[in-house]
Symmetry: C2
Subunit: 181 residues, 2 copies
C-alpha cells in the first residue's frame, strides 16, 4: 500500500505536521504546524522495457524483495532528471546489462492500490550480451511457450507480456492502457 498520511514532520523545519484540508484545496494534506508548509503525496512512476531478441523476451529473476526469486521485466522507479524513456533504458541496463534500442510506448498500467503508474516500452536487443546487476539473480531469454507464467513477480508484468504476444500474433503493436486491481 502506498504511504499516504506518512508525513509526521515538516521537510522544511522539522516541526510536527497535521493532516487537514488547505483553503482552496479539496483533500487533506500534511501541513506544518509551525511554518505552514503543505506536503503533497502523489503516485510514483515505474518505467521498464519488454526487451526482445529473435522473438524471445528477456526476463530477470529478482534478487530483491518484494517477490525475490520471481521473474520480471526490467523496470524500476523513474528518477528526477530523466524522461520515462531514459528511465526505462537505465533500468534495463542496471538490472539486465542488456543493450537495447527503445521502441514505442507499449503499456500504461495504473496500480492504484500501491499509488503507482507503470510504463513499459518495447525494446529491440542489439546484442545477446547480458550482464545482470545486483538486483537480479539471473537474466535470460524466453520464447512464448517457455514464459514462466506462474512465477512472474507482478501482475503488471503478466498483463504486459499477454498484450505483447497478442499484438505480435495480430501483427500490430498498439499502446495499451489498463487498470491493475
Amino acid at each position: 500500500m502506498f504511504n499516504a498520511r506518512s508525513i509526521r514532520h515538516c521537510r522544511v523545519c522539522g516541526a510536527p505536521t497535521e493532516y487537514r484540508t488547505p483553503p482552496d484545496d479539496n483533500r487533506d494534506r500534511a501541513i506544518c504546524t509551525v511554518c505552514g508548509e503543505v506536503h503533497y503525496e502523489n503516485p510514483l512512476n515505474v518505467v521498464g522495457t519488454v526487451p526482445v531478441l529473435d522473438a524471445r523476451v528477456l526476463l530477470c529473476r529478482r534478487n530483491i524483495e518484494p517477490r525475490r526469486g520471481f521473474w520480471t521485466l526490467p523496470a524500476g522507479f523513474m528518477e528526477l532528471g530523466e524522461t520515462t524513456e531514459q528511465g526505462a533504458l537505465r533500468e534495463t541496463v542496471e538490472e539486465a546489462g542488456a543493450e537495447v534500442e527503445l521502441e514505442p510506448l507499449f503499456t500504461v498500467l495504473n496500480v492504484v492500490h500501491v499509488g503507482q503508474v507503470h510504463f513499459y516500452y518495447r525494446a529491440r536487443m542489439t546484442s545477446a550480451k547480458l550482464d545482470p546487476g545486483p538486483e537480479t539473480i539471473e537474466a535470460r531469454l524466453f520464447a512464448e511457450a517457455e514464459i514462466p507464467w506462474n512465477e512472474l513477480a507482478f501482475k503488471t508484468v503478466k498483463v504486459t507480456l499477454e498484450r505483447y504476444f497478442e499484438d505480435r500474433r495480430k501483427g500490430q503493436f498498439l499502446t495499451h492502457s489498463a487498470d491493475i486491481a
Copy 2:
C-alpha cells in the same frame, strides 16, 4: 524547477537529513541523520483532457499562477487513490465543469526540467454545459482557426493541440510521446 534536494528534515522523526548515496543505490538521497529513513524524490504526473464538442476544443483561462490569464486544457496533478483516467476526468470537472466521456490516451509528454510527466486523454463532451471552478476565469470552445496559439499557458498544451489537429486531419488518432525542453 523541481524541488530536488529540498528535504532538510526527516518526515518520520523531524531530525535533520543529509544528502548522500545509500548502500546499494547509485544517487544521493536525503537520509535522516538520526533514524536513517531514506527519502526519495520522484517526478509527478499531470493528467488532463482534450474535451471536444462539435469539432471545437474546450480551453480554460487560468485564474491561478503560474500563467494566470493564459489558456490551457483542463489538467492538474494526479492524486493518490485514482487512476490517470480518473484524475483527468476529475480535473476536467473541477476546472471546467464539463461533462465528458474519456477516449484513449492521446499524449505522454516528459517535462524533465520541472520533473513532470503530462498525460492528455481525448474526451467527448456529452453536453454543452460548462461550470468553471475557482481556478478558471473562463471556459469556452474554440474551432481550430480560433485557437489562441500565442496565449497558451504551457508548451505541453501547444504540443497536444498541434498533434490533435494533425491527427484529426489524417483521420486517425494515435498515442503520441514527446519530450518538452
